[in-house]
Subunit: 141 residues, 2 copies
């Protein structure tokens, strides 16, 4: 990993760090309409998935799988919140390579449409702290 990894400022302003995995930083997007995670490879100057060499792509894929499995099992207030996982690498606005991994369910705010470009509803401070702590425990386990 790059020791002097620099996170894009728009990612740092719109999401909260959960933890660093071996390859990526995991962040929670500040939008309580979804459990919306980002995986950001901790290397600089990446824009496209194909900017990663194949071995690094495999490391990233393992982490996408790990995060996906956690979201599939995740319960909020004793409710399963993930009927479908949405995974995407877009980056048209924010150039730094980041992978969206989003828990979707059939009663969420824009189901079955894609969640990109919808207005975000920010977390309250306390619920955010609790959620980040809970996700960190599950992801680092």
């Amino acid at each position: 990993m790059t020791e002097n990894f620099i996170l894009d400022s728009s990612l740092s302003q719109t999401s909260f760090k959960i933890c660093d995995l071996t390859f990526s930083q995991v962040r929670l997007v500040n939008n309580k309409n979804f459990i919306w995670l980002l995986l950001i490879p901790r290397k600089n100057n990446l824009r496209e998935l194909i900017d990663l060499d194949f071995q690094d792509q495999i490391e990233l894929l393992k982490e996408i799988n790990w995060i996906s499995k956690i979201l599939k099992k995740l319960k909020i207030n004793n409710q399963n919140i993930c009927e479908k996982i949405n995974i995407a690498s877009l980056g048209n606005i924010t150039p730094q390579l980041h992978i969206h991994v989003i828990a979707r369910h059939s009663e969420d705010i824009c189901w079955p449409q894609a969640p990109f470009g919808q207005e975000a509803q920010p977390y309250e401070k306390e619920e955010l702290e609790d959620l980040v702590k809970d996700l960190k425990e599950k992801i680092e386990k």
Copy 2:
């Protein structure tokens, strides 16, 4: 590969077959606003990326890379048409696992927004045939 692979009817109605790669079928979405390809693993009963075993995911990843590299170099009427690749596995509407690989550029119809959910502009028959032929030659090479 599954010999009796069954393509979801909504995918067959909204896209055209380009070719079969080793693992996936490659299709062109009937929307001339973008060069919008789909990779559909030719196995039945898949919905999520994590429904594939890891070795199959790696085969799919290789094909995503191959398609991405072709789109990056693709010219239409001597113009580069891919400044950014958008890759996504959504599947909220169409349950069969399919990966979107879309060439985006800063003058396309909805740049920099995500292209999902926009009204499609169908191809004319002749331009479609020419484009499918051109893409097939590049992808099968």
